[in-house]
Amino acid sequence: MSPMDVRQRHNVTITGRAEGPTVVLAHGFGCDQNLWRLVTPILAPGHRVVLFDHIGSGRSDTTTWSAERYATLDAYAEDVRELCHDLDSGPVILVGHSVSASIAVLAAVAEPELFAGLVLLAPSPRFIDDPATGYRGGFTADDIDELLASLDSNYLGWSATMAPVIMGNPDRPELGEELTNSFCRTDPAIAQVFARATFLADNRDDLAGVTVPTLVAECAYDAIAPRDVGAFVHAHINGSQLITLDATGHCPQLSAPEATAEAITAFTTTLTG
């Protein structure tokens, strides 16, 4: 696959200071690279900022999506590695939010030489409780079924006429006006598969394999990844740092963009000197 293909498939956008350290921002389940819109301008003066959409999300090329391939997080991790190879900028700092923190872990275990460091933002290696080991992810399997039902009942929020616009296939320019309401919309069929891959994943055992410098950045009040989980990730990645952002909710990029950018910058500074 040629470099152009990789960047088009993932709707890659690169901004910031070209000679700065490269920071790749990976969005989680439910949205797309728009999620970083408040953090990017703060990082841009000091970093080369790389944004992308996972296949199936945002304006990625959904024709390359398949339910079989994207049923597990491994496919997403492979995509991230392919993208990092394509950037050809030496080891990058990969910032993974939520499920993308697990994706980042998988990518860094498989090819550590691609990464100068990882920032795991609101990570959760397993969302479902595991009573056998006393692990508390915060959810039961029934809760996850309920989320899938929620996705299904908001089926109607997705309209087929919007699909070409959202999929970056704007041969219907008259629909352009509606774009303001299309952030983060995803085909419900794709969302179902990504939700399953995300919320049924268990990557706890992969944490120990991380050998690159890692910052774990959790939120003080996170309804999805409780503090226990941040502590768990920190304890299982050798030499990792833990920081608790004064943020509410699961998306500190939106609720506390300054603090989030500051944590990322402080970490990249320690790496690059």
Partner: protein, 399 residues
């Protein structure tokens, strides 16, 4: 009493209009909720409190909005609703469920908008909540219907695929001294196509073959296809001459079918391998596109069977025949017009000339190589192929 005729200055009517904004807020037929940016509940109206069965003091200042949601709903809120609200300032008509004090669930539709301060900074979130029990019941029915339709569609495709298989030979026979290749391209997995072919032994040292195309698709076409296949096999036992076989077929289809039933085009053949390894073929055509001969010497031509008429539509149809000799390295190709009628780009169709040009480029080519080359071309047409395509190639191996 004729209330609508009362003058507007009637004191009782004026009193009605003086419905205070506060009372409207509190007792509106929908729930109102204001939360801080972190989701903590700052203000809530009586309607919503009644729905929840909750006390104002237990909620205001302590509880987060997402705490009112079911756990699955909370996940949806955190991953979709919240980010969307922050990015576009408002979110409309999202279906969620609230947990009430008694443990029941209330399906609701939620819309939220950010309230901004004088400098454009977001201050708080205003949320309107509608009781969606009836609507959700209706949507559940729609979803159920959709899921049923999806299941039925999958079932239809399975039945179609099975039926299609019964209309084609599971595999071509091995004919001593000849090479055979065939393929079938399905235009739509939802409908049985009307193309068919077969190769079968026809007594000692002779083989029969046919390739046909019933007009139309679906069950009607499948019935005629099935009748045609078995009629040909039976007729050939009685008299293997292809002209005779097609005449019998025409009679049977005419008698069998209703006037509006599908007709068909077909090429039938009888092939006789000779002692020197070459072969003679007699072809009979009932209105079917001309066969193509790809010769060992690198030339290629259509084998004209002019004047052959459609089978099963005329009182007594005209069938034309042609005789040809296959040398070592010659390949005869039969196909259906789904191939030549395929759209290559926009309104342009592939056509007979392009097919002939391709054959001249390919020749000399074995049956396998010829069918493989056409398979690739057909794949390349993608959705331009509107009708099924059947290919059957017979050749004498190179010496």
């Amino acid at each position: 009493m004729m209330a609508d005729r009362r003058p507007a200055h009637d004191p009782a009517f004026a009193a009605l209009l003086e419905d205070s904004a506060e009372d409207l807020y509190d007792n509106a037929p929908c729930g109102y909720l204001s939360t801080l940016l972190d989701g903590r509940i700052a203000k809530i109206n009586s309607t919503l409190l009644t729905w929840l069965g909750a006390d104002r003091h237990d909620l205001v200042g302590h509880t987060y909005f997402s705490d009112l949601l079911t756990v699955g709903g909370k996940l949806y809120y955190e991953t979709h609703f919240g980010p969307l609200l922050r990015m576009q300032g408002e979110v409309n008509g999202i279906a969620l469920e609230l947990k009430t004090a008694t443990g029941t669930r209330l399906p609701v539709l939620i819309s939220s908008a950010l309230k901004y301060g004088g400098h454009g900074q977001p201050l708080l979130i205003r949320t309107t909540i509608f009781d969606a029990r009836d609507r959700r019941a209706y949507e559940t029915e729609l979803l159920r219907a959709r899921h049923t339709a999806e299941r039925e569609h999958a079932r239809l495709q399975r039945i179609t695929a099975t039926l299609q298989k019964t209309l084609l030979p599971p595999q071509l026979p091995t004919v001593p001294g000849l090479e055979l290749a065939a393929s079938y391209h399905i235009a739509s997995p939802d409908e049985v196509g009307g193309d068919f072919y077969d190769v079968y032994p026809q007594g000692p040292g002779q083989w029969g073959l046919f390739l046909g195309d019933v007009c139309g698709k679906g069950a009607d076409a499948a019935v005629v296809t099935s009748v045609a296949r078995y009629t040909i096999r039976a007729a050939a036992v009685h008299n293997p001459d292809p002209h005779s076989v097609l005449t019998t077929l025409d009679t049977v289809i005419n008698e069998h079918s209703r006037p509006e039933a599908p007709y068909l085009t077909i090429t039938a053949g009888l092939i006789r391998p000779a002692d020197d390894g070459t072969a003679d073929i007699t072809l009979a055509s009932g209105g079917h596109p001309s066969a193509l001969l790809l010769r060992a010497n690198g030339t290629a031509d259509y084998i004209p069977t002019p004047g052959g008429q459609l089978i099963g539509i005329l009182p007594r149809t005209h069938i034309t025949t042609a005789n040809l000799h296959l040398e070592h390295g010659d390949t005869l190709l039969l196909y259906t017009d789904g191939l030549t009628d395929a759209h290559t780009d926009g309104d342009r169709r592939y056509g007979n000339n392009a097919l002939l040009a391709l054959a001249r480029q390919l020749a000399p080519a074995s049956p396998q190589a010829t069918v493989a080359a056409l398979d690739e071309i057909i794949e390349g047409f993608g959705e331009g192929v509107e009708d099924d395509v059947a290919l059957l190639a017979i050749g004498v191996p190179k010496r």
